[in-house]
Symmetry: C2
Subunit: 232 residues, 2 copies
């Protein structure tokens, strides 16, 4: 018995308040779902909905038979949106433009061949392009495309539409993994980004998969000074 709360968002807020006020301390077991349902005057399913949601974000740790604990370390999950580059540029209120640098079949480095399971002498579609914001270089896209998987890619001219955008519309993917690092610009990248060689550049390397087949490997080298933001 207690207060009357019967929507799951309000229950979630109340739980958050109690955790934050240390009424329930990290590591501590909180009352079980039935007790909370009684206290809030709602059904157990509603409590479950609220607690599930908090467990998804990592704030609670739930186990059958054991109960629900406040997570000891709030492993914050910051989320990064990875949109189409054109859209990212436009969200920063910059005028978007795009230039193709190179499109050819080439011998890929071993790191790319490995994930694509391609033979040593395979010639793989390689596309290099620069995305601009208000006329200034924004990011260099250096991409290898597995034409075994995306068979129509060979016939596309990537001077009008970027490979980034074309692939999102034409190559369904199931998952991807991304590495974020800081690198010093090579002479070539510095030229494309109109910067100095040696400047620090944020670099994302992403492999996109369709099941166990690698669709594409892309290296994005951002212009010096670029900042990526995320919230939690």
């Amino acid at each position: 018995m207690g207060i009357q709360i019967n929507n799951w968002q309000a229950i979630q807020e109340e739980v958050l308040r109690r955790i934050h006020a240390r009424e329930w301390s990290p590591g501590e077991l909180i009352p079980n779902e039935s007790e909370l349902a009684l206290e809030f005057g709602c059904s157990r399913a509603t409590v479950n909905r609220a607690l599930q949601s908090l467990a998804d974000t990592g704030l609670l740790d739930r186990r059958r038979r054991i109960g629900t604990r406040v997570a000891v370390l709030p492993v914050s999950h910051a989320t990064i949106k990875i949109p189409i580059i054109r859209q990212e540029v436009e969200e920063r209120r910059l005028k978007y433009s795009y230039g193709l640098v190179q499109q050819e079949l080439a011998t890929a480095p071993v790191s790319v061949r490995a994930v694509m399971a391609a033979p040593k002498n395979a010639r793989i579609l390689h596309v290099v392009a620069v995305h601009f914001g208000d006329g200034d270089p924004y990011v260099v896209e250096d991409r290898w495309i597995n034409q075994q998987v995306v068979k129509t890619a060979l016939d596309v001219e990537f001077d009008k539409i970027s490979a980034n955008e074309w692939l999102l519309h034409n190559a369904p993917f199931t998952h991807g993994d991304t590495t974020i690092a800081a690198t010093q610009l090579s002479d070539q990248l510095a030229g494309l980004l109109e910067s100095e060689a040696g400047d620090a550049s944020l670099q994302l390397t992403r492999t996109t998969w369709d099941g166990d087949l690698a669709i594409t490997v892309v290296k994005l080298a951002y212009a010096p000074g670029y900042k990526m933001n995320t919230e939690m």
Copy 2:
């Protein structure tokens, strides 16, 4: 009528399969919940659970009265785990150690004073420390702590426990925002990281809030070569 699927994960997989196989194309309306419930031979609530979950990840776009569409652009949300640094080091199977460089009250830069709403001449707790993995510098933690909010922080000796860890255990927070950038190492940071000035370093700047009060501002400068990984 149709197949018998009565758990929400299986329904989710079937929906994913249809989207991926382009049976349901991007932008297209899919059947409503009642129809799917009938087809799968389960209740509408179960279908709802599956579709809710997909909408959360951005793959579906749901609107009352309108229906459920396959999202046109799969804005992938990659999540980055932000754990305690000690834990991050240990997950990489490195032996963790820690050294305090500096702990003092100092005049903060205007960017820090601004978010903490501190007066111009305020002296704010400043802690600089280095985290090591297998004896090699891993990251430099340069932190300002708002002692107006975390009043006990002034009495803590941050030579045994890092400010990072102490705050997570003692200062409840509601949210935070993080900026990721690549910078060239200053002489001072290069010295602490045992690297060369000018090397590219991944740098995270995070402000952590308790409601509308800034608890702490931290700048993490990672040793050159550090890579951050994320999946989607």
